[in-house]
Amino acid sequence: MTRPISKTVNVPVADGDGERYTLKMGPQHPATHGVLRVDLELDGETIIKCSPQVGYLHRGFDKIAENRTYAQSLILTDRLDYIAAMANNVGYCVAVEKLLGISVPLRAKYIRTIVCEMSRIASHLLWLATHALDIGAMTVFLYCFREREVMLDLFEELCGARLTFSYPRIGGVRQDVTRSFIDVLQQFVAEFPVHIGEYETLIDTNRIWLKRTVGIGVLSAAEALELGLTGACLRGSGVDYDIRKHRPYDAYDLVDFEVPLSNDGDIYARYRCRMEELHQSARIIQQCIDQLPPGPIISEDAPDLVMPLQGQRKVEAGSSTYGTGLIRLLEEHGQYPVGDIYVSTEVPKGELGFYFISDGSGRPYRMHVRSPSFIHIGALPALAEGSMIADLIANIGTLDVVLGECDR
């Protein structure tokens, strides 16, 4: 049974007069990195208007956190940026520690710095893999996954999970690192610069790669700041803002590293920044391994939900909601501290901020997550409008977004 052709095929054709048509890209599309939908208004292949639509993964994060204790909300942070869950966990713990005034033992600080940088490596490798695949370079994808696998195996050895770790605790970490973990990591860090070289041989000076990235998606420093970009997206435009240097947390003020900058502000500049960050992460891990001090891995003040170490901490039935430290805190002050605090950390995607309001109860009165991906997707129209469909894909890749974090 056939229908008249002119009626069934109703794709509007863009002619020379600039007739426009719309294309809804996503939420099921191979290159939108999750469930991002981008409504495009196109003239031929040129993007006239681009409006990203988010929220497909919204889980009411802030609302859930208001109804849980601080320790219970930790697992929610795994589900933010699931590519680098460890960095989110650490960011959350740092924020709650600051709110409750808990000090962390030095060894735990070093371990958290190590796992943070490991997750930065894992996240940047996934970014490079998918970004290169989006632009069509297929082999980089698998090279990156080879190294990412080592990272995930190490995480598995550390805490038993490969994606949603919940390994750091408020006041420290859950378990101590093992000898074999350190050995494998040491070997990985020593070899990693060679592997970075392998990725670079494939794309770094590749003429097609340069054509697709140099001068595309350019943002000046002022524009990037105004859009609220953070992380490598901001540093690629030449703004020296790295929270690890500006407001050091954990052991970042005890190790030596550089913040890579670039002034071009295009896709290639951001690519170079992230590649340099991989080198710097390896350097930080190496220093942390060398300096790793002995000692406890969790503060005495930590709220419970920590695996009790045999014989060291007494857990009585019925009183296990809070650790001894917090019971002391409650006895001294009568309640939790009252006030509000904004603490941000440098996660692989940018600045992850937690804003807490404490009203003295054991639960946050209000928790707000400032997620970098959310802001970065908001900046997509500024990058993509006026360019072509192929550049949109490159631009989504260069912003390095994760929708779990964007939608919360």
Partner: protein, 322 residues
Amino acid sequence: MHVLILLIEILILFAIIMLHVAYATYFERKIIGHMQVRMGPMRVGWHGLLQPIADGIKSFFKEDIVPEQADVVTFRAAPIICLTAMLTSLAVLPFAKGWVLADINIGLLFIFAMSSLASYGVILAGWASNSKYTFLGGLRSMAQVISYEVAMGLSLVGVMMLSGTLNLTKIVEAQGGSFAGMYVFPQIIAFFVFFISMLAETNRVPFDLPEAETELVSGYCTEYSGMRYAIFFMAEYIGMMVMSSIGTICFLGGWNGPFEVAVFPPFWFVVKVYLFMFVFIWIRATLPRYRYDQLMSIGWKVLIPLALGNIVLTGFIKAFTG
């Protein structure tokens, strides 16, 4: 009787080519796998040798989905147009001396005609699916094929001038049996242009824009499933083989080799074709993808002037050397 023999020959050729297509996919997956630090297919048969057959059976038994708003007749016909055009061009290819179904005098032109016809299938598929992604894929394919057909045609004019014929068998014979006689040496510019156009003509990386997965989902064949999708796939691989064969015949001296293999005369031809196929795959594993406008500017601003210059150059040389 003559017709019957011809039919049997056609059937044999068809069977052999289909087998080659199946194993070309295996070849590609294995090579790309090893280039990408993985194994490729390993499960079906020894080292995955039966994988292409399993894939074929699977796609035969998959549901054939036709989108509700699609133009059904065109939608169903498009992959068949593609495959038929590609298969037809096989008829004029000389695999060895005398190993050719139709030894016609306009072999080269015939192949061009057929490969243009195959792009109709792609365009119709893109249009009939009534989806914007397929439509964009079809448009891209149309623009790409038109531009690169010109460059490719012009690049082969040099070969025609040197050999003085369009008959593929005679082009091979004109190159003689020696290594130095291959047209790749005097026609090195043409070979360069031909090679790049060949990649574009077969929609291979770095010119795979009509089916750019990360941009257009799957380009013109987004809405296809099951056997019809597999037919597009086959057409693409036969296209690769035809283009490799043209390269072999026009530039690498066809079936001639350092020594004769009496039991299997097309031996060197097959070796050379697979060399081309290997380069196709090698490039796919290495390079990113061009953008649409960059592809166009390479075609029109670099390749076509180069090919035209090559014609002038060849003409001069031929005029002065006699």
